[in-house]
Amino acid sequence: MSKTKIIDKILDGLTYLGLILITLSVLLPLTWIVLSSMQVGNSLYSSSFLPNSLTLDHYKTLFTKTDFPIWYMNTLKIATLNMILGVIITTLTAYTFSRYKFKGRKQAMIGMLVLQMFPSFLAMTAIYILITKMGLMDTHAGLLIVYIAGQIPYNSWLVKGYFDGIPKSLDEAARVDGAGHLTIFLKIIMPITKPIVVFVALTNFIGPWFDFIFPKLLLRSADKKTLAVGIFEWISSRANDNFTQFAAASILIAVPIAVLFMYLQKHIVAGLSAGATKG
């Protein structure tokens, strides 16, 4: 064997070693939490990587004795509405900016660009007072308004960038054939822009599952909470007692989201890179 071939073999071996090490570091924490969710007893202290016996009791408790199902439904409801309304408003805004010339368009776009750099939770005090004043404190509507409004500047820019890439001759041809504004938008533009719309829909759907700043700020009663807040409170207050319950809840949240993510992976990566290059 030549020298380069030997080096190649060694590199291959090192690569496999690296791959296995990374695999372990990825799978160990995840396996631990899966096994913990089925561990007998409920304390963190006694937990080890391999429990002696397994049980599904914690899942049962989750649905019978905790607020978990309510939180799950709350989050699902908020996420779905956020997705639908967010996509409608964002795509309409982006389409208008991309296709229509009107007064103040340039100023509005620069304004949006500046605003999207300001993370909305930097203004949380003001949002808190505003929602209180509007009487929307401790309601899901208040939370939804904050979410939907907050995503407009960034997502509109993102989607507008995508719309700009679609030739205007398509619209014009349709207009000549007598199609109205909305028809062109729904029948011609939307189908071609599916990837970016899926991306916006997905980020809007997933956002409420992760966020806990605003739910913590704007929701008070136990039956209004979202999952992120509820689960975080289990861990931050009495981690030891709630540990296995937390583990079971984590599995029930993570599995559907992870599956959705894996399934739509391509769209996500495309959307993220589009956001990066389009600015």
Binding site: T93, F118, L122, F212
Partner: protein, 429 residues
């Protein structure tokens, strides 16, 4: 006097008169009613402006057991800002109203006949598509993004803070630039600000570099020709990206906690517990490493895409010139990748700079340090702001830091945007 001049003057006098004079009834009446509504609301407008100027004058008093409500400075501030926004809208409408009357008058002077209401409605529908489409977004952005930002900026110039200036019990006052001076000059604030600020920068830079380089190593390993089961490795590596971050972060928090399984294992081997998340330095290292676990997969996916985009012919040419694999990597692969992914790197930096979740969920800013004002050793600016707002009610300083943070991020993003394709393209704007 011609129609153009007359309609213009009439519209100056009262919104909509010029339009009515030219028989544009619908438009005229709508404009007329809008000005009427504003006129009726004059007392409220005056009160709004009074509120934002004085921030209230009557303090809450106790009369025996009865509380006599005083002015609520912060509500007054918000009402004031809304009033001013509404006045700006009126100003815009008023100017448009005059221009519109002038245009209509001009057209009629030149013999164009006016449209009937029905014709006008059809035209309005056609033209108003833009405004109908943009109304929800405009309202949302005005009231839930712009208004909160304006209020935050204004709060930075007040003394809105616990314990002495919390409405409705006390009034809040304007203090000018005092807070901005305090944060740089007042020892207790400046020390915390610079310490937290420099850790934030270190955290953002190291996180980004590690995320990128680990992602790159993973992508290169997957890209090697002889490696088998590529789909299998890829699926596993992408898992940390697919699992919701807040779940993984909480899992790591438990895994590395004092009573967690990692420390149990260490103790069972006869060693002392390692304070992964409670020793100042070790906690910072753990944070950065755990954040790499979460962030590297994204770069792996992104960079594998870019790697396959580099054409083989470049490598073949290098091969002929006798460049080794090592040289090829440093002179061809890395520069090309960096060039392609520079914007993403900057975005990741900005993201980590404000990565609230990673810090708050893993350590909550702990371990505590009494020398720092309302902050712990691992707090970054954004978690400090959160604590100042939600736990300590130091709204004035939270606002000041928010503004500084915003300027920093904004200058960063602006630089990136100026370089991006969309800005240089003529058609975009």
């Amino acid at each position: 006097m011609n129609r153009e001049r007359r309609s213009m003057l009439l519209s100056c006098l009262f919104m909509g008169l010029g339009q009515l004079y030219n028989k544009y009834f619908l438009k005229g009446i709508v404009l007329f009613i809008i000005e009427l509504l504003y006129l009726i609301k004059i007392p409220r407008i005056i009160k709004g402006i009074w509120g934002v100027v004085t921030l209230g004058e009557t303090t809450q008093k106790m009369n025996g057991f009865q509380i006599i409500q005083g002015d609520h400075s912060i509500f007054l501030l918000i009402e004031g800002v809304v009033t001013i926004m509404m006045l700006f809208i009126l100003l815009g409408l008023y100017i448009w109203n005059i221009k519109d009357a002038k245009r209509i008058g001009h057209e009629m002077d030149n013999g164009k006949s006016y449209m009937t209401t029905k014709q006008y409605l059809i035209k309005v529908y056609d033209q108003s598509f833009v405004s109908i489409m943009l109304t929800p977004a405009t309202m949302g952005v005005l009231f839930f993004i712009l208004l909160p930002i304006l209020v935050t900026v204004l709060v930075a110039f007040t003394n809105y803070s616990a314990p002495d200036h919390i409405p409705p019990r006390n009034l809040v006052d304007w203090v000018g630039f005092k807070n901005f001076i305090d944060i740089f000059k007042l020892k207790i604030w400046s020390k915390t600000f610079f310490k937290i600020g420099s850790w934030t920068v270190v955290w953002a830079i190291l996180s980004t570099l590690l995320n990128y380089s680990c992602g790159l190593i993973m992508a290169l390993m997957m890209n090697r020709k002889n490696i088998k089961f590529k789909g299998f490795w890829r699926t596993i590596f992408i898992l940390p990206y697919a699992v919701p971050a807040f779940i993984s972060l909480l899992v790591f928090r438990l895994l590395f906690s004092g009573v967690g399984p990692v420390n149990n294992l260490i103790v069972s081997f006869g060693f002392d517990k390692i304070p992964f998340l409670t020793d100042p330095l070790l906690a910072k290292v753990s944070l950065i490493l755990i954040n790499t676990w979460l962030g590297a997969p994204y770069f792996m996916v992104l960079l594998s895409g870019s790697l396959t985009n580099i054409s083989d012919s470049i490598y073949e040419a290098a091969e002929i010139d006798g460049a080794s694999k090592w040289v090829q990597f440093w002179k061809i692969t890395l520069p090309l990748l960096l060039f392609q992914t520079a914007p993403v790197l900057i975005l990741t930096f900005a993201y980590n700079f404000n990565n609230f979740g990673a810090i708050y969920l893993l350590t909550g800013g702990k371990p505590t340090n009494s020398a720092l004002r309302y902050a712990g050793e691992t707090d970054i600016l954004i978690t400090w702001i959160f604590k100042l707002t939600s736990d300590q009610s130091q709204f004035h300083m939270a606002a000041v830091i928010s503004i500084i943070l915003f300027i920093f991020i904004a200058s960063f993003s602006t630089y990136q945007f100026m370089k991006s394709k969309s800005f240089t393209e003529e058609d975009m704007m």
